[in-house]
């Protein structure tokens, strides 16, 4: 029974990693931009939620509703004003600029909030749980899993069934030709990053209510997000969910053997996938 429980907890943890990864995957898929500040943006959103919850006394879910449009605006502006200038044939400028951004965010958060570990209180929901036969599942982790699935379904619908989604794919395919079709690639990119920041806000909600975070927690989140994207295969959002789940299950299995092995087991699973299927389990992108 404890084996099934371990797997279930792993799946739930993995869905959080998938939430970390979905925004990263979206931005990379549309503009081939690797955002090294992605993890720090998640932590930034978690601090924004913390301020809304402790400062204004909002419930975390309400705070996320307030924070989502703010983060969308911040992402839009970040892309339009700064990151669009770094896009081009050379892959180095976006890496350097987002790496710099990562340092700026970490240090600003350290200045503003000190290095203390924080947590967003979700009240009674934190300890609420639901029993499924022999397995008991926490309410928040379960909601996180359902949110991750909803985010993936929502993004897929948006990308494959809407006019803006077609513009995303057309611009990703050929930005110059997209311009000739009346599309402004810079705005499409800004929209994509804005959208990624909404997903980041959702990820921050479950990160902040599930575990402690501090201003330097971003890079580790980025690593998990990267691993989930790569395990799943570039360009496939369902693959990203699967990648997150594989990572989460490997970590809880490792922790079940020896608590010290949790992180290591996750990385080993990632390396194993890279060895067996270097392009990920469900690759979509051909390039």
């Amino acid at each position: 029974m404890s084996f099934i429980d371990t797997i279930v907890q792993g799946v739930l943890l993995g869905s959080l990693y998938a939430l970390f990864a979905a925004g990263l995957s979206l931005v990379f898929g549309i503009m081939r931009l690797v955002n090294l500040a992605h993890g720090d943006l998640i932590v930034l959103a978690a601090f924004l939620l913390l301020v809304l919850v402790t400062g204004l006394g909002l419930h975390p879910f309400l705070a996320a509703l307030v924070a989502a449009p703010l983060m969308f605006g911040a992402g839009w502006a970040l892309q339009y004003v700064l990151l669009n200038r770094t896009l081009g044939k050379d892959v180095l400028p976006p890496l350097l600029v987002t790496f710099g951004l990562s340092i700026v965010i970490q240090n600003s958060l350290l200045e503003g909030f000190s290095a203390d570990s924080r947590r967003i209180s979700a009240g009674a929901l934190e300890t609420a749980s639901i029993g499924f036969g022999p397995v008991t599942v926490g309410f928040m982790p379960l909601l996180g899993f359902l949110s991750a699935v909803a985010v993936i379904v929502g993004l897929n619908l948006l990308i494959y069934r809407s006019a803006i989604g077609r513009a995303f794919r057309a611009t990703s395919d050929d930005a110059v030709t997209a311009g000739l079709m009346g599309i402004r690639p810079q705005r499409i990119f800004a929209m994509a990053t804005g959208l990624a920041m909404v997903v980041v806000t959702i990820a921050a909600l479950y990160l902040g209510t599930r575990a402690n975070f501090d201003p330097t927690a971003g890079p580790a989140r980025l690593i998990y997000a990267f691993e989930a994207v790569i395990i799943g295969g570039l360009g496939s959002l369902w693959g990203t969910l699967a990648g997150g789940v594989i990572l989460g299950v490997a970590q809880t299995l490792g922790a079940a053997v020896n608590p010290e092995w949790q992180i290591l087991a996750g990385h080993l699973a990632f390396l194993a996938v890279l060895l067996i299927k270097p392009r990920g389990l469900f690759p979509r992108a051909v390039d």
């Binding site: 006019a163 077609r166 794919r169 057309a170 110059v176 030709t177 311009g179 000739l180 079709m181 009346g182």
Partner: protein, 239 residues
């Protein structure tokens, strides 16, 4: 008043002058053919008109507005549609989605409006049975048709065709010419770069001859083809 007007448009790449004081105009609903040897600057001229390359000097007016500094997407919204010599479909999108992108953004149509309009264009260009095929899997003729269909989906007032008949069989070429004539008959102005002269002259009212980035003749096709200068430069005939 003319729809498109170029005044002394020039462009240099280093020491190479690819457009040298080019001036001409195209009226509303007119069809103009452009001929010239390879490397004469024909495609560059299209890039200058659509804004993919910025002119060093001169002015480009479209529909009365100065568009010399306007980005390609703005010119598309003003009503310029363009096909590429080497088709550039959005390969991962289906044929229909390629058109929908052009219809929703280029022609600013609602989702339902774009669906109807684009389905009609697919039928007109003979691509209806390929609607749900990813554009990357099309044959050359189908890609050329898609280029045309996608440009039409932006609902242009001026259609720029870059060697769209090149590489096609005689029958394919005839079918394409019929499609282009039908588009032109609806009042869309056309500028057509083409080496397949009989296809070109069966549609256009005037011919412009380009050589080394310079306009060396513009006028009725019969006059142009009779011109000694053109025959020497373009057809390579010693007369």
């Amino acid at each position: 008043m003319s729809l498109l007007q170029l005044e002394s448009v020039s462009k240099r790449f280093g020491a190479l002058t690819v457009a040298d004081e080019i001036s001409f105009s195209v009226g509303e609903g007119e069809a103009l053919g452009i001929i010239g040897p390879n490397g004469a600057g024909k495609s560059t001229l299209f890039n200058l008109i659509t804004g993919n390359i910025a002119a060093d000097r001169g002015t480009i007016r479209f529909g009365g507005a100065d568009v010399t500094r306007a980005p390609p997407m703005a010119r598309c919204l003003y009503g310029m549609g363009r096909t590429f010599q080497i088709p550039q479909p959005f390969e991962k999108l289906t044929v229909f989605e390629n058109l929908l992108v052009a219809g929703s953004f280029g022609a600013q149509r609602s989702e339902a409006g774009a669906y109807d309009r684009c389905a009609g264009i697919l039928a007109d260009t003979g691509l209806l049975d390929k609607a749900n095929v990813p554009a990357g899997r099309l044959s050359l003729l189908q890609r050329k048709r898609l280029e045309l269909a996608r440009a039409l989906a932006t609902e242009p007032r001026l259609l720029l065709l870059d060697e769209i008949a090149g590489g096609l069989t005689e029958a394919e070429c005839r079918a394409l010419v019929a499609t282009i004539r039908a588009i032109h008959a609806k009042g869309v102005a056309v500028i057509w770069i083409e080496h397949v002269l009989h296809a070109l002259t069966s549609v256009v009212e005037r011919l412009l001859v380009l050589n080394f980035g310079r306009v060396i003749g513009i006028g009725a096709p019969t006059d142009i083809m009779a011109s000694r200068n053109v025959r020497e430069i373009y057809l390579g005939i010693e007369v």
